[in-house]
């Protein structure tokens, strides 16, 4: 008999996780509602800023909302798929990682598929709704370029935020009580990614673009979509290279993850 293809393997793994989440309907929908709530609260933060100022980092409310929506969609997708990586400390503490390592599947994929949190898609819905509301008012010229950016940005953003989760995951092996660190790193990155990049002071702006490419997940593509120039060190055309930044982020993530595993197996960092 033939071996299962990779696709079938993941279909079985994910299918079982999704079924188990839907088994408790009420609790599932409550969780979705909470997730929607988190997305809304984050947007209210942006909204609150604009009740005091008319322009924030060179963008008005509608324009900032576009950045927020795209960033939020990317992050919600990444959180759904990779959010489980923040449980590594508990796996380490309970000695469960050994069990996973004794199986013929990469550890990262086992952890990712161990819990795909559909409820986190509630947050994605917030991003989608905001996008639908703000788009008509932005007066965009719809070219092939803008259509491409609108369609692709959430997914590239998800790839970049996913890499953040994996980087933080790799670093957990070196830290005791790492969850706070993951939170600071991943959610800090997400926060930076959903704001107009121009409000970040220059060193932070460079850090969150060229090292941890958070501004590439939403701000730069949004500038391209709206035909606006970028601030210092952050030309808008960089937005076209978002997939390259995603590859870079995953390279860092791969290094951090490999170092983490090597630390755990005692092979040296």
């Amino acid at each position: 008999m033939a071996e299962l293809s990779t696709g079938e393997v993941y279909r079985i793994l994910l299918g079982s996780r999704i079924r188990s989440q839907l088994a408790y309907r009420t609790s599932f929908w409550l969780n979705v509602a909470t997730s929607v709530g988190i997305g809304l609260v984050e947007f209210i933060e942006i909204y609150a800023i604009f009740s005091n100022v008319a322009v924030f980092g060179g963008l008005n409310l509608r324009q900032s909302a576009l950045v927020f929506a795209l960033g939020n969609m990317g992050f919600a997708l990444a959180d759904t798929i990779f959010g489980q990586l923040d449980t590594i400390p508990s796996y380490l503490r309970m000695g469960r990682l050994e069990v996973l390592l004794a199986r013929p599947m990469p550890l990262l994929l086992q952890l990712v598929t161990s819990e795909v949190q559909l409820r986190r898609l509630g947050r994605l819905a917030v991003g989608v709704v905001i996008l639908i509301i703000v788009l008509p008012g932005l007066d965009l010229s719809y070219t092939a370029g803008t259509a491409y950016l609108l369609a692709v940005t959430p997914f590239v953003g998800a790839a970049i935020y996913g890499a953040f989760f994996a980087m933080a995951g790799g670093l957990q092996f070196f830290l005791i009580d790492g969850p706070e660190f993951t939170s600071a790193f991943v959610y800090g990155g997400a926060y930076a990614g959903q704001l107009p990049g121009s409000v970040l002071i220059t060193p932070i702006r460079i850090l969150f673009t060229f090292v941890f490419p958070a501004t590439v997940t939403a701000y730069l593509p949004s500038l391209l979509i709206m035909g606006l120039p970028g601030p210092r060190f952050l030309p808008a055309w960089l937005g076209w290279f978002a997939p390259v930044f995603a590859v870079w982020a995953w390279l860092l993530a791969w290094l951090a993850w490999r170092a983490g595993i090597r630390k755990f197996t005692g092979a040296g960092g």
Partner: protein, 322 residues
Amino acid sequence: MTTEPVVEFEDLRRSFTVRKKVGRLRRQTKVVHAVDGISASIQPGEAVGYIGANGAGKSTTIKMLTGILVPSSGRVRTCGYDPVPQRRRLAREIGVVFGQRSQLWWDLPLRDSFRILGAIHRLPTEEVTVRTEQLIDHLGLADLLDTPVRQLSLGERMRGEVAAALVHRPRLLVLDEPTIGLDMISKERLRHFLIAERAECGTTLLLTTHDMGDIERLCDRVLVIDRGRLVFDGTLSSMAERVALQRVLVVDLPEPSPDLQVSAAAHIGSDLDGQRQRLAFSPKETTAARVLAEVTAVTEVVDLTLEEPAIEDIVRTLYGVG
């Protein structure tokens, strides 16, 4: 068939650096040799018991041979693979049960755990179904299949764990303390299954345990480790020649009594003026039931316990002798 050993250690060592805080700022580092030069090999089809006190180096050895831990020096090969670099390929050849650490999905029915594990091992769905049916049948799990794992008793879960480790028909089954915390019936059930499974599939077995009963029922060879070194490697019977593997039957009587005289066992002590008495016997010569029958022929027995020989005592004896 190859005659290559399933497991091979050559002067295997693993040390850990432990940092300890001394005073306010100074830190002292100490090197602990968890495994300190072990050489042994296990042939296909062997059943090997790996025993030693807590902290003797058993788990460290198992982590090295399953590819979870890199040796500090020396060589280990499992199923012909270099475990750490070839960990995932090796994983398809071995089944591991880490006693207290479940590999089942807590919130899913047992059935789903088998299905998922089959998928992880990339087994065709029909093959998983056939194999699962077989394991369920042999382990008496049929009634438990739709129960979420978190609702199973320890004994039930343990049977599930062993079945899970065997879904992909591994060449080597590694069991780390499989019977810890189980009652007598659950233990026996598991042992029965393992004997039958090995007779059918010829699976090589490596077992760590604190229970001499496991060793006597399941293993034909014993490795004893003490402070990282191998102090004994031989058959169970050759170990029995060096160490008395006696059982002690403890009986509680209704009232203080004189020392019991039983032909098959030796009286080794009395407490509470003879209300509790201890009788030692060799399981090779007689059984607990026969000793008990002899006791009940002369007096009533209120309660009884059976003590297994302690691994720590065996190690101490071997160390003293060897």
